[in-house]
Protein backbone atom coordinates (compact mmCIF):
# COMPACT_ATOMS: atom_id res chain seq x y z
CA UNK A 1 0.00 0.00 0.00
CA UNK A 2 2.68 2.46 1.06
CA UNK A 3 4.85 1.57 -1.91
CA UNK A 4 1.90 2.27 -4.18
CA UNK A 5 1.57 5.75 -2.65
CA UNK A 6 5.31 6.31 -3.11
CA UNK A 7 5.05 5.29 -6.75
CA UNK A 8 2.10 7.63 -7.33
CA UNK A 9 3.97 10.53 -5.71
CA UNK A 10 7.05 9.76 -7.84
CA UNK A 11 4.92 9.72 -10.98
CA UNK A 12 3.49 13.12 -10.11
CA UNK A 13 7.07 14.35 -9.50
CA UNK A 14 7.94 13.24 -13.04
CA UNK A 15 4.91 15.05 -14.47
CA UNK A 16 5.75 18.22 -12.55
CA UNK A 17 9.34 18.04 -13.81
CA UNK A 18 8.07 17.71 -17.39
CA UNK A 19 5.79 20.72 -16.86
CA UNK A 20 8.71 22.73 -15.46
CA UNK A 21 10.91 21.83 -18.42
CA UNK A 22 8.32 22.70 -21.08
CA UNK A 23 6.59 25.78 -19.68
CA UNK A 24 7.55 29.22 -20.96
CA UNK A 25 6.45 31.09 -17.84
CA UNK A 26 9.37 31.02 -15.41
CA UNK A 27 7.32 32.12 -12.38
CA UNK A 28 4.96 29.19 -12.95
CA UNK A 29 8.01 26.93 -13.17
CA UNK A 30 9.25 28.20 -9.79
CA UNK A 31 5.87 27.58 -8.15
CA UNK A 32 5.72 24.08 -9.64
CA UNK A 33 9.22 23.35 -8.34
CA UNK A 34 7.98 24.27 -4.85
CA UNK A 35 5.12 21.76 -5.23
CA UNK A 36 7.61 19.15 -6.41
CA UNK A 37 9.71 19.80 -3.27
CA UNK A 38 6.67 19.15 -1.07
CA UNK A 39 6.07 15.81 -2.79
CA UNK A 40 9.72 14.85 -2.35
CA UNK A 41 9.45 15.68 1.35
CA UNK A 42 6.37 13.45 1.70
CA UNK A 43 8.25 10.61 -0.04
CA UNK A 44 11.15 11.04 2.40
CA UNK A 45 8.75 10.83 5.32
CA UNK A 46 7.05 7.71 3.95
CA UNK A 47 10.40 6.00 3.35
CA UNK A 48 11.31 6.36 7.07
CA UNK A 49 13.71 9.31 6.78
CA UNK A 50 12.32 11.95 9.17
CA UNK A 51 15.65 13.81 9.42
CA UNK A 52 15.69 14.47 5.70
CA UNK A 53 12.00 15.33 5.52
CA UNK A 54 12.72 18.16 8.01
CA UNK A 55 15.63 19.57 6.03
CA UNK A 56 13.78 19.15 2.72
CA UNK A 57 10.72 21.04 3.95
CA UNK A 58 12.86 23.87 5.29
CA UNK A 59 15.51 24.17 2.59
CA UNK A 60 14.07 22.54 -0.51
CA UNK A 61 10.64 24.15 -0.34
CA UNK A 62 10.94 27.35 1.69
CA UNK A 63 14.34 28.90 1.11
CA UNK A 64 14.84 27.75 -2.48
CA UNK A 65 11.50 29.22 -3.63
CA UNK A 66 12.36 32.50 -1.92
CA UNK A 67 15.75 32.58 -3.69
CA UNK A 68 14.21 31.80 -7.08
CA UNK A 69 11.50 34.45 -6.80
CA UNK A 70 13.98 37.09 -5.63
CA UNK A 71 16.25 36.21 -8.55
CA UNK A 72 13.35 36.27 -11.00
CA UNK A 73 12.36 39.78 -9.90
CA UNK A 74 15.61 41.02 -11.39
CA UNK A 75 15.23 39.02 -14.61
CA UNK A 76 12.52 38.66 -17.25
CA UNK A 77 9.52 36.57 -16.35
CA UNK A 78 9.00 34.88 -19.71
CA UNK A 79 11.32 32.65 -21.61
CA UNK A 80 11.92 33.54 -25.25
Amino acid sequence: MMELIVNLLLASCVMLTAAIVYTKDLLLAVVLSGAEGVMVAVIFYLLLAPDIALVQVAAGVGISTAFFIVGLRKLRRHEE
Binding site: P50, D51, L54, V55, I63, V70
Partner: protein
Protein backbone atom coordinates in the same frame (compact mmCIF):
# COMPACT_ATOMS: atom_id res chain seq x y z
CA UNK B 1 10.96 20.96 -30.24
CA UNK B 2 12.51 19.23 -33.20
CA UNK B 3 12.70 15.53 -34.01
CA UNK B 4 16.40 15.38 -33.23
CA UNK B 5 15.84 16.77 -29.74
CA UNK B 6 13.09 14.29 -28.93
CA UNK B 7 15.18 11.37 -30.15
CA UNK B 8 18.06 12.46 -27.94
CA UNK B 9 15.74 12.89 -24.94
CA UNK B 10 14.12 9.49 -25.36
CA UNK B 11 17.48 7.78 -25.72
CA UNK B 12 18.60 9.48 -22.47
CA UNK B 13 15.57 8.04 -20.68
CA UNK B 14 16.22 4.57 -22.09
CA UNK B 15 19.90 4.61 -21.22
CA UNK B 16 19.47 5.82 -17.64
CA UNK B 17 16.60 3.42 -16.99
CA UNK B 18 18.68 0.51 -18.26
CA UNK B 19 21.62 1.49 -16.04
CA UNK B 20 19.46 1.90 -12.95
CA UNK B 21 17.59 -1.37 -13.48
CA UNK B 22 20.90 -3.14 -13.95
CA UNK B 23 22.32 -1.61 -10.79
CA UNK B 24 19.43 -1.95 -8.34
CA UNK B 25 16.96 -4.73 -7.74
CA UNK B 26 13.89 -3.22 -6.12
CA UNK B 27 13.51 -2.56 -2.42
CA UNK B 28 15.76 -4.82 -0.36
CA UNK B 29 14.10 -6.89 2.35
CA UNK B 30 14.29 -6.19 6.09
CA UNK B 31 17.54 -7.46 7.52
CA UNK B 32 19.61 -6.74 4.42
CA UNK B 33 21.99 -3.99 5.53
CA UNK B 34 25.34 -3.25 3.96
CA UNK B 35 28.26 -3.95 6.33
CA UNK B 36 29.13 -0.28 6.87
CA UNK B 37 25.54 0.64 7.70
CA UNK B 38 25.29 -2.35 10.00
CA UNK B 39 28.43 -1.21 11.84
CA UNK B 40 26.91 2.24 12.44
CA UNK B 41 23.55 0.84 13.52
CA UNK B 42 25.05 -1.73 15.86
CA UNK B 43 27.53 0.58 17.58
CA UNK B 44 25.74 3.90 17.74
CA UNK B 45 24.12 3.34 21.14
CA UNK B 46 25.61 0.14 22.46
CA UNK B 47 26.54 0.13 26.15
CA UNK B 48 28.62 -3.01 25.77
CA UNK B 49 30.84 -1.54 23.03
CA UNK B 50 31.69 1.78 24.63
CA UNK B 51 34.97 1.99 22.76
CA UNK B 52 33.10 2.46 19.49
CA UNK B 53 29.83 4.09 20.38
CA UNK B 54 28.74 7.63 19.57
CA UNK B 55 26.37 7.96 22.54
CA UNK B 56 23.49 9.20 20.43
CA UNK B 57 20.32 7.13 19.90
CA UNK B 58 19.78 8.90 16.57
CA UNK B 59 22.10 7.04 14.20
CA UNK B 60 22.13 9.81 11.58
CA UNK B 61 23.40 12.35 14.12
CA UNK B 62 26.04 9.89 15.26
CA UNK B 63 27.24 9.32 11.70
CA UNK B 64 27.11 13.05 10.98
CA UNK B 65 29.52 14.28 13.62
CA UNK B 66 31.27 11.22 14.97
CA UNK B 67 31.91 8.49 12.43
CA UNK B 68 32.07 10.80 9.42
CA UNK B 69 33.04 14.07 11.03
CA UNK B 70 35.63 14.98 8.40
CA UNK B 71 33.04 14.74 5.60
CA UNK B 72 30.74 17.12 7.42
CA UNK B 73 33.61 19.47 8.19
CA UNK B 74 34.43 19.76 4.49
CA UNK B 75 30.76 20.19 3.59
CA UNK B 76 30.69 23.10 6.01
CA UNK B 77 33.71 24.50 4.21
CA UNK B 78 31.96 24.18 0.83
CA UNK B 79 28.99 26.08 2.21
CA UNK B 80 31.29 28.84 3.47
CA UNK B 81 32.93 29.14 0.04
CA UNK B 82 29.46 29.46 -1.53
CA UNK B 83 28.69 32.45 0.70
CA UNK B 84 32.03 34.04 -0.21
CA UNK B 85 31.29 33.51 -3.92
CA UNK B 86 27.96 35.32 -3.68
CA UNK B 87 29.48 38.15 -1.68
CA UNK B 88 32.10 38.63 -4.38
CA UNK B 89 29.57 39.21 -7.18
CA UNK B 90 27.70 42.06 -5.56
CA UNK B 91 29.05 45.28 -4.24
CA UNK B 92 28.19 45.59 -0.59
CA UNK B 93 26.10 48.66 0.02
CA UNK B 94 23.94 47.24 2.77
CA UNK B 95 21.28 49.93 2.73
CA UNK B 96 18.88 48.75 5.40
CA UNK B 97 16.24 51.33 4.54
CA UNK B 98 12.89 50.84 6.15
CA UNK B 99 9.90 50.57 3.82
CA UNK B 100 6.30 49.79 4.56
CA UNK B 101 6.27 46.09 3.69
CA UNK B 102 3.03 44.16 3.55
CA UNK B 103 -0.31 44.82 5.23
CA UNK B 104 -0.78 45.26 8.99
CA UNK B 105 -2.18 41.78 9.61
CA UNK B 106 0.73 40.07 7.87
CA UNK B 107 3.28 42.19 9.71
CA UNK B 108 1.78 41.55 13.18
CA UNK B 109 1.49 37.81 12.51
CA UNK B 110 5.05 37.57 11.22
CA UNK B 111 6.42 39.31 14.30
CA UNK B 112 4.55 36.82 16.48
CA UNK B 113 5.53 33.75 14.47
CA UNK B 114 9.21 34.77 14.26
CA UNK B 115 9.79 33.91 17.94
CA UNK B 116 8.10 30.54 17.58
CA UNK B 117 10.13 29.59 14.51
CA UNK B 118 13.40 30.49 16.24
CA UNK B 119 12.40 28.49 19.31
CA UNK B 120 11.54 25.45 17.23
CA UNK B 121 14.86 25.71 15.39
CA UNK B 122 16.73 25.73 18.70
CA UNK B 123 14.68 22.79 20.00
CA UNK B 124 15.26 20.74 16.84
CA UNK B 125 18.99 21.32 17.18
CA UNK B 126 19.37 20.72 20.91
CA UNK B 127 17.27 17.56 21.11
CA UNK B 128 18.73 16.16 17.90
CA UNK B 129 20.39 13.31 19.78
CA UNK B 130 17.09 11.67 20.70
CA UNK B 131 14.69 12.88 18.01
CA UNK B 132 15.03 13.68 14.29
CA UNK B 133 16.86 16.93 13.75
CA UNK B 134 20.28 18.49 13.76
CA UNK B 135 22.31 21.52 12.87
CA UNK B 136 21.47 21.56 9.17
CA UNK B 137 17.73 21.23 9.80
CA UNK B 138 17.67 23.82 12.57
CA UNK B 139 19.80 26.21 10.54
CA UNK B 140 17.43 26.04 7.57
CA UNK B 141 14.44 26.70 9.83
CA UNK B 142 16.24 29.63 11.50
CA UNK B 143 16.97 31.13 8.08
CA UNK B 144 13.28 30.82 7.21
CA UNK B 145 12.44 32.97 10.25
CA UNK B 146 14.72 35.79 9.06
CA UNK B 147 13.63 35.46 5.42
CA UNK B 148 9.99 35.78 6.49
CA UNK B 149 10.89 38.95 8.42
CA UNK B 150 12.70 40.40 5.38
CA UNK B 151 9.83 39.62 3.01
CA UNK B 152 6.96 40.75 5.22
CA UNK B 153 8.51 43.65 7.11
CA UNK B 154 11.26 44.86 4.74
CA UNK B 155 15.00 44.81 5.34
CA UNK B 156 14.79 47.92 7.49
CA UNK B 157 13.21 45.98 10.34
CA UNK B 158 16.36 43.90 10.87
CA UNK B 159 18.23 46.51 12.99
CA UNK B 160 15.33 46.39 15.46
CA UNK B 161 16.11 42.70 15.92
CA UNK B 162 19.77 43.67 16.51
CA UNK B 163 20.70 42.06 13.22
CA UNK B 164 22.86 43.45 10.47
CA UNK B 165 24.90 42.16 7.55
CA UNK B 166 28.19 42.49 9.41
CA UNK B 167 26.66 41.17 12.61
CA UNK B 168 25.36 38.12 10.73
CA UNK B 169 28.87 37.55 9.40
CA UNK B 170 30.23 37.76 12.95
CA UNK B 171 27.71 35.26 14.34
CA UNK B 172 28.41 32.87 11.47
CA UNK B 173 32.16 33.06 12.10
CA UNK B 174 31.51 32.42 15.79
CA UNK B 175 29.79 29.17 14.82
CA UNK B 176 32.72 28.21 12.61
CA UNK B 177 35.21 28.93 15.39
CA UNK B 178 33.15 26.80 17.80
CA UNK B 179 33.28 23.84 15.41
CA UNK B 180 36.94 24.35 14.62
CA UNK B 181 38.10 24.67 18.23
CA UNK B 182 36.19 21.56 19.28
CA UNK B 183 37.84 19.77 16.37
CA UNK B 184 41.35 20.88 17.27
CA UNK B 185 41.35 20.31 21.04
CA UNK B 186 42.11 16.54 20.93
CA UNK B 187 44.89 17.11 18.40
CA UNK B 188 46.43 19.78 20.61
CA UNK B 189 46.16 17.47 23.59
CA UNK B 190 47.89 14.64 21.76
CA UNK B 191 50.68 16.93 20.56
CA UNK B 192 51.18 18.33 24.04
CA UNK B 193 51.17 15.05 25.94
CA UNK B 194 52.71 12.74 23.35
CA UNK B 195 49.78 10.30 23.40
CA UNK B 196 47.45 9.25 20.61
CA UNK B 197 44.28 11.21 19.96
CA UNK B 198 42.35 12.13 16.84
CA UNK B 199 40.51 15.20 15.58
CA UNK B 200 36.75 15.35 16.13
CA UNK B 201 36.95 12.45 18.53
CA UNK B 202 33.64 12.03 20.26
CA UNK B 203 34.62 9.04 22.41
CA UNK B 204 37.99 7.53 23.29
CA UNK B 205 38.52 4.73 20.80
CA UNK B 206 40.33 1.54 21.85
CA UNK B 207 43.83 2.60 20.85
CA UNK B 208 43.69 6.18 22.13
CA UNK B 209 43.04 7.50 25.57
CA UNK B 210 41.69 11.01 25.17
CA UNK B 211 38.16 11.78 24.01
CA UNK B 212 35.28 14.01 24.96
CA UNK B 213 33.63 12.70 28.09
CA UNK B 214 30.12 11.34 28.20
CA UNK B 215 28.50 11.34 31.58
CA UNK B 216 26.48 8.22 31.82
CA UNK B 217 23.39 9.90 33.21
CA UNK B 218 23.57 12.71 30.71
CA UNK B 219 24.35 10.76 27.54
CA UNK B 220 20.94 11.46 26.10
CA UNK B 221 21.49 15.20 26.58
CA UNK B 222 25.08 15.53 25.42
CA UNK B 223 25.92 12.66 23.13
CA UNK B 224 29.58 13.22 23.85
CA UNK B 225 30.39 16.59 22.32
CA UNK B 226 27.83 16.43 19.50
CA UNK B 227 25.44 19.09 20.79
CA UNK B 228 27.86 22.08 20.91
CA UNK B 229 29.05 21.23 17.40
CA UNK B 230 25.43 21.05 16.24
CA UNK B 231 24.78 24.49 17.74
CA UNK B 232 27.78 25.84 15.82
CA UNK B 233 26.40 24.30 12.62
CA UNK B 234 22.95 25.79 13.35
CA UNK B 235 24.38 29.28 13.65
CA UNK B 236 26.56 28.84 10.58
CA UNK B 237 23.86 27.52 8.26
CA UNK B 238 21.12 29.87 9.47
CA UNK B 239 23.23 33.00 9.25
CA UNK B 240 24.71 31.83 5.93
CA UNK B 241 21.32 31.60 4.24
CA UNK B 242 20.28 34.92 5.78
CA UNK B 243 23.40 36.58 4.35
CA UNK B 244 22.74 35.04 0.93
CA UNK B 245 19.19 36.35 0.95
CA UNK B 246 20.28 39.81 2.11
CA UNK B 247 22.84 40.04 -0.67
CA UNK B 248 20.43 38.79 -3.34
CA UNK B 249 17.72 41.27 -2.34
CA UNK B 250 20.20 44.14 -2.46
CA UNK B 251 19.07 47.00 -4.67
CA UNK B 252 21.10 47.34 -7.81
CA UNK B 253 23.92 49.75 -7.18
CA UNK B 254 24.42 53.02 -9.00
CA UNK B 255 27.65 51.83 -10.50
CA UNK B 256 27.15 50.17 -13.86
CA UNK B 257 28.72 46.78 -14.25
CA UNK B 258 29.23 47.37 -17.97
CA UNK B 259 26.90 46.56 -20.82
CA UNK B 260 23.31 47.73 -21.02
CA UNK B 261 20.58 47.40 -18.49
CA UNK B 262 16.89 47.26 -19.22
Amino acid sequence: MSLKDSIIGISFVALMTAILIYAFLGYPEVGFVRPLGEFYLYNTFNFNEQGWWSASPNAVTGVLWDYRGYDTLYETMVFYVGIVAIALFFEKESSLRRTSGMTVIVRATTKLVFVFILTSAMAITIFSVKTPGGGFQGGSIMAIAYIAIIIALSRGFLPELRMDLSKAHLIKIFGLILIFSLTVIPVAYSLASGTVAYALQNQPKPWSEFGYPTFLGLYSLSGGMVIPIQVGELVHVGMGFTIMFLILTEREGKKELGGKRS
